[in-house]
Symmetry: C2
Subunit: 259 residues, 2 copies
């Protein structure tokens, strides 16, 4: 049993949770909780740690009986956990490797992309990944200045969708968008200048939606890459919707049309 | 100028930010930032505080020239602010007083209610209020164990919609729901047992949507009050959507049908 917070493995977990740089150097990230640990692709799990009290529940022991794991003293587990009330189980998982091509979906499905520019809130990003899976997006494209997909709060908010939705981070959003347009993907941007309501276009064809930063929306350069501006009708004095909320309406409109 | 954090007024602001009990005893809450301060109903503003450096921008001085306010030293302002990087302006605002009747909307509009049971995340609640205004809800009903609508994080997430969407907190959700049904409001619950997809019913008639707690969903008792269960289709392995995301889809489906 690991009983000291200065144990090398514990220090490693803390580093991985805190620093995106360490995560990318080692291409490993940390997931917490039973759901996130049990849904991780088995072959990608590098290590698993459980707290002493976690093992006091028979159901827990049963769940992890086929895994190899190390036991950690409760007070030490608290120091490696990113949550206030840890469930007592975490795992180190290898990062998946997707190509841009993987975002376009299987052959029987038309591409349906969510494209994010500089989203800053990790919870927002995680919620968009979760909702994206529910709506049936084929992939998520992000620029470099979007918050890290492996941020502990992002991971938690995905509720496991992180393992199932292909995503890709691009160095040049503009170039990648041109590439997608070359592949016949029609790009929409929710924009104040949009004339058509978001539920008017035909989304049965390959499509992608540009969603901008929470505070500032899309940059002009990125908005200019869109084939069409669309508009989400808003009553009252509302000037804009939260980025994840806007993304939800667009992604689920595609789902509604394709159902 | 106020230069000490132990000033009585400063202590008062901190108490109001921290304690719901103090807010309700005095029926006053704290709003921060230019947008939230300038959109507050003028007659309800009890006090306004600005930081020294806030006044160094001519545009700021211009914006608040018709208000009476007290200047606060920057380091003291930091202690009364709930944000990491304060904008340098906050106000104490009187709570509005709504009745259940106020939630049913003006005569030309059919009631469209969002009904929340034990929502715990203040940001989620604020987002729902903001999205609710955008979608055109006539009011929001909450039970007692929903997080306080005047929590600083809720207020911030509403982006001003707090001032414009009528809301009501009930001691007995069950009794209030029966009352609403008596007024001809049809209640829908998004539920795993739902057979019809959420976009099938006719929402031009008076309607309300029951949304449950983030982790546990609706209690059985509350779900039993619904006239009909509906279902949000989900692809992949998604078991549920975030409460604010589910509420968005339902509220905006009403908006789509009524447009």
């Amino acid at each position: 049993m690991i009983t000291s917070a200065s144990n090398q493995q514990m220090k490693h977990v803390i580093q991985l949770n805190k620093k995106a740089k360490t995560r990318y150097e080692q291409r490993v990230f940390v997931v917490e909780g039973i759901k996130m640990c049990m849904e991780a692709p088995r072959k990608d799990i590098v290590a698993m740690y459980v707290s002493e009290s976690f093992l006091q529940t028979a159901e827990h022991v049963q769940r992890i009986k086929d895994y190899s794991y190390e036991v950690v003293a409760d007070n030490v587990f608290k120091t490696i956990s990113d949550t206030q009330t840890p469930q007592g189980i975490l795992a180190l998982v290898k990062m998946p490797e997707y190509t841009l091509e993987d975002l376009l979906g299987a052959e029987e499905k038309q591409p349906h992309l969510l494209i994010l520019e500089s989203i800053q809130d990790p919870g927002n990003l995680g919620t968009m990944i979760r909702t994206g899976e529910g709506a049936g997006v084929t992939g998520i494209l992000m620029n470099k200045t979007t918050v890290d997909v492996y941020h502990p709060k992002t991971i938690r908010a995905t509720m496991g969708s992180l393992y199932r939705v292909p995503f890709y981070v691009t160095d040049s959003l503009k170039e990648t968008l041109e590439e997608l347009k070359g592949k016949g993907i029609f790009l929409y941007a929710a924009h104040l200048k949009g004339k058509q309501s978001y539920d008017r276009p035909d989304y049965k064809k390959p499509c992608g939606f540009l969603i901008g930063n929470e505070g500032n929306g899309l940059t002009e350069e990125t908005a200019a890459c869109a084939d069409e501006y669309i508009r989400i009708p808003m009553e009252g004095k509302v000037e804009s919707l939260n980025a994840a909320i806007a993304a939800t309406l667009l992604m689920y409109e595609v789902n509604r049309q394709r159902r």
